[in-house]
């Protein structure tokens, strides 16, 4: 990894680009400009970027934008893409309704089930 302060000095300030309004994350509607700007504000990992801008945190869980974001952040940081982390994978891997998640047969539950409140 790199020293963030040194890196921010190296890459200099955020310079707008003509296509900064292009969407990268389709689900959460996060633009290229927002992601680029965030890099210059010190967000240098995909994990932080997800929490900061919510890109890759929507319904599809970064299925479409994961690679685009990784490439974009790497470019902005001037590091090879292979040096960028990838988003942590967590269950559920596909969108699951809360109601269904509540019917998890592998989890100990009160006898009455979800209806008892």
């Amino acid at each position: 990894m790199f020293d963030i302060q040194e890196k921010l000095k190296e890459i200099g300030p955020y310079v707008p680009e003509s296509d900064d309004d292009l969407l990268v994350c389709r689900c959460e509607e996060v633009t290229k400009g927002e992601i680029r700007r965030a890099v210059h504000e010190g967000i240098t990992t995909i994990e932080e970027m997800r929490r900061f801008l919510r890109c890759g945190m929507g319904l599809c869980q970064g299925q479409t934008c994961g690679m685009l974001t990784r490439r974009l952040v790497a470019r902005e940081l001037r590091v090879p893409q292979s040096e960028m982390d990838v988003a942590t994978s967590r269950a559920p891997m596909r969108p699951v309704a809360m109601e269904t998640g509540g019917r998890d047969l592998g989890v100990e539950k009160p006898a009455a089930g979800g209806d008892a409140e």
Binding site: D19, L22, L23, V24, R26, K32, Q63, T64, C65, M67, L68, Q81, S82, V86, T88, S89, R90, A91, P92, M93, R94, V96, A97, E99, T100, G101, R103, D104, L105, G106, V107, E108
Partner: protein, 529 residues
């Protein structure tokens, strides 16, 4: 709290997963396959083209038929396939979490194979979120699974095998493909796939990409432009097309989330971000295996062998096969896989710019940049031969792993040899009996039967034809060049269909004698080009 026990769980009922399940079940392992889709087979049922390889790789058989065969075999071996079952988590101690209907189930197994395949890569351009911009996989799903046209006028972005194959399939479904565009300076997929698209008249724009998808409610048009070496648009090179659909085929990425979540060691490679595993797919966690595209993007043919290797390794891991048995079967499968991984498009050659074939013949630059071989270029390849009586011309000019043409010909007119990536040779002084089996067996539709009748001043060209309606005998039309341009008048002399040809019709056209080396497609007179 309920956790069900299973012996061997496979996640994904595609080519790799099913092959692994069959192989393991053959050794006596009890196998359960979970798949999130309503029907098994993964992407195989969307593959309506004939596969490459040799007989052991099920070459010249169409993908969906291979899928049917795998399903039949899995059933015969007693493999349990659970559909509409989405694996949403993989945890330590080989526990998986599966959504079935509106419940979440937990299972534990002694071994788990992840065969989740890949997801499509995307590029973002202005307008890329408009309805009508779709993945190439989406187009295949609509037309080949649900029999719905993806669009009327379509632009394809991406010239890899997926982009090329889907472009052709779009035309088979009755759509018009207005252009095939790629940011790379050279076509990424097999030349033979490009040529069958090019001869239908589809223009290729290499070193071009999409500038904007136009429309407010959905796609109404698209503008492409040329890019320089730094991927910047070159002003003034814009071209507009009226389209209702834009298809994106810019590569695949392994769908590794489950493996990552389980803590399997990963590696960044040319084949994508993939689990570090040995040739049997064994990952860094004992008992967790990976096979198929999730372990590195390749063709379905390779995925099936990888799956078999993993299945065999799992059988050995679980004590169903001895080390010797495993080693023996592994060697056999490795050789089979090795054969597929040779040639110009082998994993080891990814990203390399090759100049010559293995035989030392200069590659066709036109083929790589425009999608078709130059009329003069074809003569330097061993598949070309000039003769008056009927003979095969094999326009197969790149080293790809494929050899059905050699076995299709019973008269030894075609020779490839033992190395399946060698260029096919049209054997001199051999006697072609005009049976057409080679034409129909060529997965790349690159074989033509050619003859001349000097007294009449005409010649005949037999072409593979996979469109509807079929031309009728006696019908008048045009001979199209390799680039899809009208070059001469043509009369349909013969139309052959046969079960042995498996959906490929053989259309014989009569053309003026000078055009037998140039006419490579046919279009009816009243059809717009």
């Amino acid at each position: 709290m309920k956790i069900e026990r299973k012996e061997f769980i496979v996640v994904g009922a595609g080519p790799a997963g099913l092959s692994a399940a069959i192989e393991a079940a053959r050794s006596g392992v009890s196998v359960t396959v979970f798949d999130e889709n309503a029907r098994p087979g993964g992407q195989l049922f969307k593959q309506i083209h004939k596969f490459f390889g040799s007989k052991e790789h099920m070459a010249k058989i169409r993908g969906f038929r291979i899928g049917e065969e795998l399903l039949r075999e899995a059933e015969e071996k007693g493999v349990e396939v659970v559909l509409n079952a989405t694996v949403i988590g993989l945890y330590r101690e080989k526990e998986i979490q599966v959504q079935i209907g509106t419940e979440v189930h937990h299972y534990k197994a002694d071994a788990i194979l992840i065969a989740t395949g890949a997801s499509e890569n995307m590029v973002n351009f202005r307008g890329w979120t408009l309805p009508g911009v779709i993945g190439a996989g989406a187009a295949q799903t609509m037309m080949n699974l649900y029999h719905v046209k993806p669009g009327n006028r379509i632009l394809m972005l991406g010239s890899g095998n997926v982009g090329l194959v889907v472009s052709y399939q779009l035309m088979q479904a009755g759509c018009e493909v207005v252009a095939l565009v790629d940011a790379a300076p050279r076509i990424g997929g097999y030349g033979v796939h490009a040529s069958k698209v090019a001869r239908c008249g589809v223009p290729f724009y290499l070193s071009h990409t999409i500038k904007e998808a136009e429309g407010t409610d959905c796609v109404r048009g698209v503008t492409i432009a040329q890019i320089d070496a730094k991927y910047q648009f070159i002003p003034g090179t814009e071209k507009h097309f009226d389209v209702d659909t834009i298809c994106v085929a810019v590569g695949l990425s392994p769908m590794t989330q489950l493996l990552k979540m389980d803590g399997v060691e990963m590696a960044d490679t040319r084949g994508g971000y993939i689990p570090a595993c040995d040739e049997t797919g064994a990952t860094s966690i004992p008992g967790i295996f990976a096979a198929g595209d999730v372990a590195g993007i390749e063709e379905a043919s390779s995925a099936m062998i990888e799956g078999r290797m993993s299945g065999e390794a799992v059988a050995a891991y679980l004590g169903y096969a001895s080390a010797d048995e495993k080693a023996l079967r592994e060697k056999e499968l490795e050789e089979s896989l090795g054969a597929l991984r040779q040639g110009m498009f082998a994993p080891k050659n990814r990203g390399k710019k090759l100049e010559k074939t293995d035989e030392g013949i200069e590659l066709s630059e036109m083929l790589l940049e425009k999608g078709y071989i130059g009329d003069d270029e074809i003569k330097r390849f061993p598949g070309y031969r000039a003769e008056i009586k009927v003979h095969p011309v094999l326009e197969c000019t790149q080293n790809i792993p494929c050899n059905p043409c050699q076995t299709a010909c019973r008269k030894d007119c075609i020779s490839i040899g033992d190395n399946i990536t060698s260029l096919p040779i049209s054997v001199k002084d051999s006697t072609c009996i005009d049976c057409g089996m080679c034409v129909a067996s060529c997965s790349g539709q690159a074989i033509f039967l050619v003859s001349e009748n000097p007294e009449k001043g005409t010649g005949e060209v037999t072409i593979p034809y996979e469109f509807l309606p079929l031309p009728e005998v006696g019908e008048k039309g045009y001979g199209l060049s390799r680039s899809g341009q009208r070059i001469c008048d043509a009369t349909v002399r013969r139309v052959r269909t046969s079960k042995a040809y498996d959906g490929t019709a053989l259309v014989t056209i009569e053309v003026p004698i000078g055009y037998t080396d140039r006419a490579r497609f046919y279009r009816k007179a009243d059809e717009a080009q």
